[in-house]
Amino acid sequence: MAINFEQVNFSYGAGTTLAQPILHDINVTIPDGQVTAIVGQTGSGKSTLIQHLNGLLKPTSGRIIIDDFILTNGIKEKQLTGLRARVGMVFQFPENQLFANTVLDDVMYAPINFGYSKREAQIAAKEALKRVHVSEKLWHKSPFELSGGQMRRVAMAGTLASNPDIVVLDEPAAGLDPKGQNELLNIVRDLKSAGKLVVLISHQMDHVIAVADHMIVMNNGRVAAEGTPTEIFNRDLSWFKEVALDLPKAGQFAEKLRQKGRSLSRRPLLLTELAKMLNGDDQHE
């Protein structure tokens, strides 16, 4: 169930005089069973890229192969229903899309739309709510009475209830407190353990290093790099400036330390790793 982008170009208003090219010659593979992080500064094309994963946008040219489904420009809207049941999308600040009277009703909405019976939808919704650790006590409350972190998780459950194989999350931890952020990273890890392919957009490199196996760096509508986070975060410093990407905080700290004259043997990517290196433990490695 890997995803392959083959020579994908995308323009808004393609074929008109106002055509605005956004994505240029995208060739990437998003591996199965892994967490792939898509990073890049605002306006680099990340969101446009992920909207191709369930056919919200169609490539102007090129194709995207999602398991046995081939998405091209010519595909009909009707043919996309099956794909949308398999690719679950959680947009930024999904709590803004909550609407039902109770948490349970809200989560049941999507499975009912995908043709589940009411009973089936309820079972699926309960499973999804358990998966994102929303306590049973809250199921019959109004979603609007919940805290920000709880609302975020209820909104995610709405997408997970139809049990998609591929889960796409746009900035899932944005705006949450540290505890809420950690809970979300744990949910990402759980989804991976459950065999899902997870795609994650994030501006927080510390989250990327914490959960991602694979990483795609976007810059000006092109893929600037693809690889494991360790490979990418060990690139030359000048490259990070070029593509306007941050290092994880530990890497940034080590860099500032180097500028003050204390160099470490390699670039740390985690706080614990940086602390160990400063404590001298890494000299024994």
């Binding site: 605002t42 600040f93 972190g149 705006g175 407190d177 540290p178 941050d246 003050k260 004259g261 204390r262």
Partner: protein, 272 residues
């Protein structure tokens, strides 16, 4: 010592659930206070109470010697500028300059004075070159700086930022925080700043950090004092700023609190 905000014995219940029960807080004029707490701790509710958007059940809120009441609420609000979390929810004008003008129009500023006031406010936040741009073409950080300019144009004595950087990317966050530091430098004692946040790295920039949870004050003091309480912060769903967590994990630690810059300096001279 002039008090900007004085909160005495505040009681407030939300849906019959008591949130604030005998809450007290004094903020001195010219102070930068970071109000921190996890989602749902009551920090945003407190801001709404101060603005009179919510009405307390009991207790007093006094803003520059004026007690908040139905009668005084408009005068109190005129002293306070507020910037909210979502940059897209606070634009009304067709251009950046129009947006700043909107607030001024509401305060009956003479129209001949407006261009100068708009320019001055946009210059403070470094957005003067964008004055004819449509707000939707701006980045999140730029939008928040315009929102800040709209507030500044009204010359408030207090500015409250309610998680104003939570929806921004790292670059946007940085520019907003730099703008705040610059504001503080420029206005000094004439501007009281309250930043509501759960980003501890942001809180380190304030003069004073107040941690609240369940409507109670958990910690209150300088960043040095508050960030020495790692356990208490963890128990309240918060974390230490990066540099302080790092210092905590070092075998050989600095004796006193250090912010990031100081820690880097200290580590670089330790054993080259």
């Amino acid at each position: 010592m002039v008090k900007a905000i004085e909160i005495n014995n505040l009681k407030y219940s939300y849906d019959e659930q008591p949130l604030f029960n005998d809450f007290n807080l004094n903020i001195e004029a010219g102070q930068w206070v970071a109000l921190v707490g996890h989602n749902g701790s009551g920090k945003s509710t407190l801001a709404k109470l101060i603005l009179g958007l919510l009405v307390a059940d009991e207790g007093q809120i006094i803003v520059f010697d004026e007690q908040l009441s139905i009668e005084s609420v408009h005068r109190v609000r005129a002293k306070i500028g507020m910037v909210f979390q979502n940059p897209d929810n606070q634009f009304v004008g067709a251009t950046v300059a129009d947006d700043v003008a909107f607030g001024l129009e509401n305060t009956k500023v003479d129209s001949s004075d407006m261009p100068q006031k708009i320019d001055a406010a946009l210059t403070v936040v470094g957005m003067q070159d964008f004055k004819d741009r449509e707000p939707h073409t701006l980045s999140g950080g730029q939008k928040q700086r315009v929102a800040l300019a709209s507030v500044l144009a009204l010359q408030p004595k207090i500015i409250i930022l309610d998680e104003a950087t939570a929806m921004l990317d790292p670059d946007g966050r940085m520019t907003v925080m730099e703008t705040l530091q610059q504001l503080k430098q420029q206005f000094g004692q004439n501007l009281t700043l309250i930043t509501i946040t759960h980003d501890m790295d942001e809180a380190t920039l304030a003069d004073r950090v107040v941690v609240i949870n369940d409507g109670r004050k958990i910690l209150d003091g300088t960043p040095a004092k508050v960030f020495s309480q790692r356990r208490v912060l963890h128990d309240n769903g918060l974390e230490l700023p990066f540099a302080n967590e790092l210092a905590y994990q070092l075998d050989k630690k600095p004796e006193d609190y250090m912010d990031e810059r100081e820690l880097i300096q200290w580590l670089s001279t330790l054993n080259k």
